[in-house]
């Protein structure tokens, strides 16, 4: 087998491209620009930490199925952790969003980073919503019968039936978490590829 043949392989080309865009020292950096020095920078990683706890508690709830938490105090406690990690997730994500907005963090070829973040937020709203309608309690009865009108009015109700528990649970535990996690992964990789956005240049300040 010739070297050029190996060079031409899809696998080789993908590996080289990935390694070029995201070498190990960019993927797992050990330094960062000195301007990254504010508490506002902790809300991205806080969102990630909360997401990992949402998923972990969701996994535990999955072990014994969707109705376990109604009858077990351990199950109810895990459900409580699931709820509060979701509250912290959105809390941190929104503070992160505000921070990135005021930094205009899309500058310098970071538009895709911003966009994946926004789409992750929207997917997360959907993931949370399908969780609320999968609770199998009064809350889910009320929320689903109310939400159906909003969704049916757009025509989406013909496919996305919020009154179908099995369908909503599948969206909640398979499709939307997968989307949220994949989008988050892309978002974080883009941050690592492009780096953290530098400060605005100020004429009066010593920016150089």
């Amino acid at each position: 087998m010739s070297t050029t043949e190996i060079e031409r392989q899809w696998t080789t080309r993908l590996r080289k491209r990935a390694a070029g865009k995201l070498p190990p020292e960019k993927l797992l950096p050990d330094t960062q620009p000195a301007y990254v020095s504010s508490w506002i920078y902790v809300f991205g990683v806080t969102t990630l930490a909360a997401l990992s706890l949402v998923i972990l508690t969701g996994f535990i709830l999955s072990i014994r199925g969707p109705q376990w938490w109604h009858s077990s105090s351990i199950g109810h406690f895990v459900n409580s952790m699931h709820l509060w990690s979701v509250e912290i997730f959105f809390f941190a994500m929104i503070v992160h969003l505000w921070g990135k907005f005021f930094m205009a963090a899309w500058r310098g070829g970071r538009t895709a980073t911003w966009m994946t973040g926004v789409v992750t937020f929207l997917a997360s709203v959907g993931a949370a919503f399908t969780g609320y309608v999968s609770q199998t309690n009064f809350d889910s009865q009320w929320i689903s019968t109310q939400a159906k009108d909003g969704i049916n009015a757009t025509g989406a109700g013909s496919i996305f039936n919020v009154l179908n528990l099995g369908q909503m649970l599948m969206w909640h535990i398979v499709l939307l978490p997968l989307a949220a996690v994949l989008l988050t992964a892309v978002h974080v990789l883009l941050v690592r590829i492009k780096g953290v956005v530098p400060p605005f240049e100020e004429k009066t300040g010593a920016t150089k």
Partner: protein
Amino acid sequence: MAFLWSLAAFIPLDNYGHYIHWGVINISVANFIVVVLMIMTFVAALLLPFPGRNRRKGNQ
């Protein structure tokens, strides 16, 4: 059993909520607290000094 009992919440929020009416705004106290905390956290994150700046300067 004592262990299981201990998993019950200390301050369960199962009683009917309280609500704030302000013109068209109508928000539960719980949501209001969350929103206020969010804004306070954001402002605090902007204003509070971030630790370790001296160490960083020293390192470079």
